[in-house]
Symmetry: C2
Subunit: 425 residues, 2 copies
């Protein structure tokens, strides 16, 4: 019986899912140990800690009865073959790398839960009808090399591996050299990372935001991952003496920037959720207390789940900034730096997730992911879903990152039931 049909016609109570959360928690703790010394977890792509983590995962997957594969860029898969091994696989997981001084949960949680769920399903229900795979992507954060999504990007065709020569880390080591130097364990360099045999992708992740906590909700059912535009802005005026230049004779680049940023904030509030607009980085020149700022350079980061709304806000902001500059005799240059389209999740899968939450008696809410995730690369290629659990105080990318064992267990159960519905029914 097809899962969709069951759900629509006779909502049949699924068997009670009781995935062993303790196994997942142990895996999380074990993964956290693969870090350079220091605060939090630091596990950068192709570093010794990273290699040991991916090797550990291979061993653990094999020990739990999964068939292990490693591709050319170091993505690690654990496979539970279904009735017809040539059918598309249902893949779930996340990335194994961290930012510098990151937390235990970002990425790692999705991997630990994937392995735990697959092992539990096999132990409880035996061989699935459809193939299931747990994946530990090699990289997503962009913390060592100046590119992101190196793992899922090679799987989905965003990259084809040829970029490895052109990108180097802060010490000048190219991706190619880093791959060659690291001990990838059972890495199989002939296994091309690109896959066209993935039938669905599901990612379980901490929210990295404060919405679930603030609304006291257990599960976030992601409807879309926002699109993003980044700009670099330079505002140029005249660096004059702070004492001898009357207010009316100034071309103060910082005062002009203040007007722009305040206007952007007001317009973003007017646009309403899920639009967010941020200036996170700002530099003043010459940056001297008694000199009127002659130049300010700053970044813009603007996100929305609808492409049209995103574009319309960006072009509005651009014209407002130009008006402010003109009115003050300032020059302005606005350069696009990044443009990523919104990634809508699969509505059948999000519907299933909502049913599962109801069946399990969990509080849940439909929400937009304001952060980027591996799932956004799969969304244009196959049915894709994302599940969020609360992040304490919305903190992530920090040793303070925390979700309680109960919160993590709830996400595991929702994921496990979805995989059951997709692979066993």
């Amino acid at each position: 019986m097809a899962a969709g049909k069951t759900r629509a016609a006779h909502p049949m109570k699924a068997p009670l899912i009781q995935a062993p959360a303790s196994q997942m928690m142990s895996l999380l703790e074990e993964l956290a140990a693969f870090s350079i010394p220091g605060t939090g977890v630091t596990r950068l792509l192709y570093s010794p800690e990273w290699s040991r983590a991916q090797l550990f995962l291979q061993e653990r997957m094999a020990g739990l009865g999964l068939e292990v594969k490693v591709d050319a860029v170091g993505n690690v898969y654990g496979r539970l073959s279904g009735d017809n091994p040539d059918d598309p696989a249902i893949v779930t997981g996340s990335h194994v790398d961290t930012v510098v001084n990151g937390g235990k949960y970002d990425g790692a949680y999705g991997i630990a839960a994937a392995i735990t769920a697959l092992h539990y399903l096999q132990q409880t229900f035996g061989k699935p009808k459809r193939t299931l795979e747990a994946v530990s992507f090699c990289e997503e954060e962009g913390s060592r090399f100046p590119l992101t999504f190196w793992g899922s990007g090679n799987v989905t065709g965003l990259y084809n591996g040829s970029e490895a020569d052109a990108h180097a880390d802060a010490e000048g080591v190219t991706l190619t050299a880093a791959m060659a130097e690291c001990s990838l364990g059972s890495l199989n360099p002939v296994l091309n990372a690109r896959r066209e045999d993935i039938g669905a992708f599901v990612e379980l992740h901490i929210e990295q935001g404060i919405i679930l906590e603030k609304t006291d909700t257990q599960i976030g059912v992601v409807q879309a991952i926002v699109g993003q535009r980044r700009f670099a802005v330079t505002v140029s005026g005249a660096a004059n003496h702070a004492g001898t230049t009357p207010m009316l004779m100034r071309q103060d680049a910082l005062a002009g920037t203040a007007e722009m940023l305040l206007a952007m904030e007001r317009l973003a509030l007017e646009a309403g959720e899920p639009l967010v607009a941020t200036s996170g980085r700002l530099e003043v020149l010459p940056n001297t207390p008694n000199v009127i700022p002659g130049e300010v350079q700053f970044t813009l980061d603007i996100r929305h789940s609808e492409e049209e709304e995103l574009d319309s806000f960006c072009s509005h902001i651009t014209s407002v900034f130009k008006e402010v500059a003109e009115g003050r005799g300032l020059a302005i240059e606005i350069s696009p730096r990044l443009s990523a389209s919104p990634a809508p999740m699969d509505t059948r899968l999000t519907g299933m997730l909502e049913s599962i939450c109801r069946n399990q008696g969990r509080t849940y809410r439909a929400m937009v992911s304001g952060a980027g995730h591996d799932a956004q690369l799969f969304a244009p290629q196959c049915p894709t879903a994302m599940i969020f659990v609360p992040s304490r105080a919305g903190i992530s990318h920090s040793p303070e990152e925390y979700s309680s064992p109960e919160e993590l267990a709830a996400g595991l159960d929702v994921l496990t039931e979805l995989l059951y519905e997709l692979a066993y029914k």
Copy 2:
């Protein structure tokens, strides 16, 4: 006949003043050569270039018939004794030090003009009734050591020399060691720098602002040197994810700062001249494009010629900033960093300067000095005056600093006539 009486009762045309501007221009060029190699002029306190410049000035003063003295901190005087050598002296001059990569005129102009004027007056009118002195102060800019006005400050009692052990330059050399190491020429360490025998102080200086140029005016008659307040401000919010934190859940320290700076600009414009308010230095933490700024540190520099206006503006701004912070859930800390009182110039001297400008057929305007000058230390102790000439585009502290020979000559003539009025009548 007293100068005041003459001026008030029978405005008598002074003899035609024709000070030799070419001699002053040569002195300026010669002084500019005492610099470390590189762009512009760099002549830091007690450096070899500085020592050579002060030695050169002593030789030149002596050659022109002035009686040379060097005090304990390296201020150089050239004296033209009057009828009664015990009467207070009329002193004119400025500072010989420069900023790093400074210009030819800041400070040096006042010294070159002082020497030229005294020599011209002696050659033309003989021995003065009242003693005249040209001075080359050792330091004013604060470019090598973390204190300013080391020259005039030791003369007026702001310092007493005891500070020399406590202040070191960027290389850790104390003022004491720097004084001991430099070749101060005919330095007389027993001649205490403190003087109580100065009857009037007159400083000729480039404006370092754009008012004279913008209003096409030859001479600025300074009414007061502004008082100044500096503050260091820290605004603290919460550094959250730029994508996952809705606009309404933010504590964005940069957006709050933008609102404060814009309010300050508006209030400063409302207050009107001569109030100026500047934020010249600003740092964002963590300063990352995709993180909402958690903290912003910035400076305030606020100036006005009236103490009461200055205090009232500062306390108003402080309360506005606190309101903005409170309304946004931000913490704010505002720490005073500097407080200097306004220094009004002597009204008899400014009146004489205005008469002289009219007599010489020069355009002039009463103005406030927004920059600090040696004259501000003399103002509380003796009748003090300052004369400004235009600065091209208001630029100073830069190799681009420029005033034309004609503009410089006009200032020289006004200074010379004032000295004539004060010392010969």
